[in-house]
Symmetry: C2
Subunit: 209 residues, 2 copies
C-alpha cells in the first residue's frame, strides 16, 4: 500500500476490513462488531499499531479497538495487517477529543501509550491525562475506570501522576524504569522500542477508579 | 568530638545544647523549647544533619527539629554545630516508630530524606512511607498533613507514591529528576550530594492531606 500523499491515505484506509468507517453507529454496542461479549480494550493514539496488533494476536479472548487521529499514520498499521486475519481487532480514525460521543459504558481497559506531551502550559487541556480527558473517559468504561499508561516523557508522566491522583484514581502499579524491571509480557510500541534501546527510562502507571 | 566507640556516642551527645534529652516532656508543647510560636518543621532520619542545619540557618522564622535513631550518626551532625549558635534548631535521638507518642498536633511540615528503603517485603511496615507510618503521622500535624520526601531509591519512591495515593494524600508536586529541574533553594543531604553528582536521578514528592 504505497502512498503518494496524505489525502490519498484518507480514502485508502477505508478499503481495509479493520477500519470502522461508520463507528458513530456503534455507540454502546461495539460488541456487535465482534459478535461476542468479550471485554473490549481501547488504545487511544495507536500510531503504527505494534502494541494493539500484538495484543490482539496474543489475547484472542479480548477485543481490541485502536484509535488514531492521522490517516497517514493509520495506514502504516494497516500495512502490517495486510496478510493477517485478526477477528478481535478493529480500528477507527478520529480525534479522541470527542471520545465520549463514540463509546458508552463498554470499555474495560484504556491504553495511553507515548501520547503527545503537549509541553506548553496553554496546551495542557490537550494532554490525554488532563482533567478534561479524565472526565470524558468516565462514561466510556463498562465497570470501573481502568487506564494503563506508558511514556518516556518525564514531564508528561509527572503531570499524569498528579492528575490521576487529583481525580481520585487509585494507583495500582507504577514503574519509573519499566525495562529495569524486566516486565513479563510487555508489548512495546514502535516508539518504545526505539527509546528504550537507547537506555532512556520508560515510565508506566496503572490506575483504577 | 572524637569517638572511641558507639557507647561513648550515646552519652556524649547529651553534652550538646542542641539535643533534647527529656523530649518526652514536651509532647504538644515543643514550641516552649523555642520560646516562640513559629511553625515547627520536622525531619525524621536527619543523618549527618546537612539538610536540617542549613534549613535552620536559611529560615530563622521556622523552628526545626531533627530526629535521628543512631547516636553514632547524630554525633556527626553535632560536630557541624560545635561553633554555631542556631536558636531555631533542636535535635532528638530516638527511633521514629514511636513518633506519635512524642509529638501532638504541632508539626507543620515533615521531611523524609533518603530514608532506609527496607527493600524486603517482610520489612515493608518499617518504611517511613508505609501505611503504618502514614497513620502514625496524622496526629503530629498541627493543621493539615504536609510531607516532603526525597530519595534516590526508585523502588522506595514508587512504593511511596502508591502509598500516599492509597492514603488519600494530594500530590502537590512531583519530580522524577530533581537536578534536571534545577530547583531553586534545594538544600541537599550529604547522601544526596554524593548520589546526584554521580548522575543518579533524585526523586522528590510533596503531599498534603
Amino acid at each position: 500500500m504505497r502512498l503518494r500523499n496524505i489525502k490519498e491515505a484518507e480514502t485508502k484506509i477505508y478499503e481495509s476490513p479493520y477500519i470502522i468507517e461508520d463507528y458513530k453507529n456503534y455507540k454502546g454496542k461495539f460488541n456487535e462488531l465482534f459478535n461476542n461479549n468479550n471485554p473490549i480494550h481501547l488504545e487511544i493514539g495507536m500510531g503504527k499499531g505494534n502494541f494493539i496488533i500484538n495484543n490482539a494476536i496474543n489475547n484472542p479472548g479480548i477485543n481490541y479497538i485502536g484509535v488514531e487521529k492521522y490517516a497517514s499514520v493509520m495506514i502504516r498499521a494497516l500495512e502490517k495487517l495486510e496478510d493477517k486475519k485478526i477477528d478481535n481487532l478493529k480500528l477507527i480514525c478520529f480525534d479522541a477529543s470527542t471520545i465520549e460521543e463514540v463509546f458508552d459504558k463498554e470499555i474495560e481497559t484504556l491504553y495511553l501509550n507515548f501520547s503527545d506531551p503537549w509541553p506548553k502550559t496553554r496546551h495542557e487541556k490537550r494532554r490525554l491525562t488532563s482533567d478534561t480527558f479524565l472526565k470524558k473517559y468516565t462514561s466510556i468504561f463498562k465497570n470501573k475506570n481502568h487506564i494503563i499508561m506508558k511514556t518516556d516523557n518525564r514531564k508528561l508522566f509527572e503531570y499524569s501522576v498528579i492528575s490521576f491522583n487529583a481525580e481520585k484514581y487509585n494507583i495500582v502499579d507504577l514503574s519509573l524504569n519499566l525495562y529495569e524491571d524486566n516486565p513479563l509480557n510487555n508489548i512495546p510500541t514502535e516508539y518504545e522500542i526505539k527509546f528504550s534501546s537507547k537506555g532512556f527510562p520508560i515510565y508506566k502507571i496503572e490506575v483504577t477508579k
